[in-house]
């Protein structure tokens, strides 16, 4: 239904005028709402007999001119966030590959316990896992954040790759076996590379989630971007700068996440069409993609998804 134009007749001059007028009205309403929000933020406030300046008062933003502020935000906050995200991403992909291979093993003793472990880790909050690793393994905050993110996203990526393996046409495996490859060779040399390529956009989309989830490190006390801005700098410069610091963290997160999201989308668009017959818009949410891939594979009567 990408072309909504099918639903109604082509608008005539009157309908076009109406929609242009409505467009202007909603634009004005939006501007009004934004102005109202700015007024609320900008209103000076009474607090215990003292009048505090509004949120956009220059005295609340002067810390942005401090070069030391930026060097601390970038080299400690952003760097710690990226450091945790990169290491966790590498470990998650490695773990995902291993789990996918174990999960699609023909031996029940390997396959079924792996499935249970994956379901267990997919079903609980990352935050709980971070707390668990922090308190039980006593590894320190950095490794608690990295390990929890790696395990959770590894389980998801493993499940996605497993679905990708199951959705391959059966002929791929049959051809590999009939030219004399052993089952393991067929899996590693023929099936797995195709599954990985098919699922790559979903894996990258999941990495965006991973990057966002590093902010949970705030709760377990890891010095990432949020903790550096809101807590460390918040107590260094004082509470009056909290709003400013929140805005700085917000903008930095948007820059990082949007660039990675756009990369994921570009990858999905660029991806080879032959891997997605009839699917115009691939689902970029990992859990949903797993569902769809499995169900499609089953409906097509290929290898039963395991």
């Amino acid at each position: 239904m990408s072309g909504a134009g099918v639903l109604f007749d082509a608008p005539g001059p009157r309908a076009r005028r109406l929609s242009a007028i409505l467009s202007w009205i909603s634009g004005v309403v939006l501007l009004g709402l934004v102005a109202w929000g700015i007024m609320i933020l900008n209103a000076p406030r009474e607090s215990g007999g003292i009048t505090l300046p509004g949120m956009f008062d220059p005295s609340r933003w002067e810390i942005l001119a401090d070069p030391e502020f930026w060097s601390f935000v970038i080299f400690t906050g952003v760097w710690n966030t990226l450091r945790a995200a990169i290491v966790a991403a590498v470990l998650a992909i490695a773990l995902g590959v291993v789990l996918a291979l174990l999960r699609s093993s023909p031996i029940g003793w390997i396959r079924i316990p792996t499935a249970i472990v994956i379901e267990f880790f997919r079903g609980m909050p990352v935050l709980l896992m971070m707390l668990f690793i922090l308190l039980v393994a006593g590894t320190g905050q950095y490794w608690a954040v990295v390990a929890a993110l790696a395990i959770y996203n590894g389980a998801l990526i493993g499940e996605a790759l497993r679905a990708g393996l199951a959705s391959l046409p059966r002929g791929q495996r049959e051809a590999a076996l009939s030219v004399g490859m052993r089952p393991l060779q067929s899996k590693m040399l023929v099936e797995f590379p195709q599954a990985f390529r098919q699922m790559l956009p979903i894996i990258v989309a999941q990495l965006v989630v991973l990057l966002k989830d590093t902010s949970l490190g705030y709760i377990v006390g890891y010095q990432e971007l949020l903790r550096v801005t809101l807590n460390n700098l918040g107590s260094f410069y004082g509470n009056r700068y909290l709003f400013t610091l929140w805005c700085v963290a917000f903008v930095l997160y948007l820059i990082m996440n949007l660039s990675l999201s756009w990369f994921a989308r570009w990858l999905a668009k660029r991806g080879d069409r032959r891997f997605r017959p009839g699917k115009a818009t691939p689902a970029l949410d990992a859990s949903q993609a797993i569902l769809v891939t499995d169900a499609t594979a089953e409906a097509r009567g290929g290898e039963t998804p395991r």
């Binding site: 406030r45 929140w246 997160y253 949410d285």
Partner: protein, 216 residues
């Protein structure tokens, strides 16, 4: 193990708060998400633009940041609202773009030929939408929506972690701090409560997807 059984009432209380966050936050997300999805397919260009920017921005903001805004920044502006209410609002806002995307992908998933066929039979806009497109779009949105709610269930833990709300995660953290010798049992107990919600929902989504994929 004993600690878990002794504190079962506390667990159940936390579980209740988690379910409350899930229900109220989920309902709020459904309402906002439906409005955003409707704006995104509307013929009015400004509304489409607003909805697109909203979806992109909120989707790329970490939940912790949203919850911190509701819990730390909003009280600075004056209104003293209870933490649980901030939690509801933060979860609803954070989840709404995911709901909107699920709804939109459902409508986009209906083959264009269906609408063309309906139009060529002489159906008007209302008939085409209510009789042909919606019934098919509806089943395509249910599994993605269930997935959104599974994610929301797990996300309620962030409200407990930041927002001083005693839901499952908050209860688990308090108990773990109080009983240092039984941390493993306590936290696995918390995990099981989350799994009680997420695993059956995931199973349901798989079944529905399998049932409906054939009919597409």
């Amino acid at each position: 193990m004993d600690v878990v059984i002794e504190n079962l009432p506390l667990y159940l209380e936390g579980f209740g708060v988690t379910l409350l966050l899930l229900l109220v936050g989920g309902l709020g997300a459904l309402v906002i998400g439906t409005v955003v999805a409707a704006m995104r397919i509307s013929p009015i260009a400004t509304l489409r633009g607003i909805a697109t920017v909203y979806t992109e921005v909120v989707r790329n903001t970490p939940l912790t940041l949203v919850v911190l805004f509701a819990v730390v920044i909003v009280p600075l502006l004056g209104p003293r609202i209870p933490f649980i209410l901030s939690g509801f609002i933060a979860l609803a806002v954070y989840t709404s773009p995911f709901v909107a995307e699920a709804l939109r992908s459902g409508i986009n998933g209906v083959a264009i030929g269906q609408a063309e066929a309906a139009r060529s039979l002489g159906f008007g806009f209302a008939q085409t939408v209510t009789l042909i497109v919606f019934p098919q779009a509806f089943r395509m949105t249910i599994p993605p929506l269930i997935n959104v709610f599974i994610a929301l269930t797990k996300n309620t833990s962030v409200v407990g972690g930041v927002g001083f709300v005693a839901e499952l995660f908050g209860v688990g953290r308090t108990l773990a701090n109080a009983n240092g010798n039984a941390v493993i049992a306590i936290l696995i107990g918390v995990a099981i409560f989350y799994l009680i919600v997420t695993v059956p929902l995931g199973f349901l989504a798989t079944q529905l997807e399998r049932k409906w994929v054939v009919q597409r």
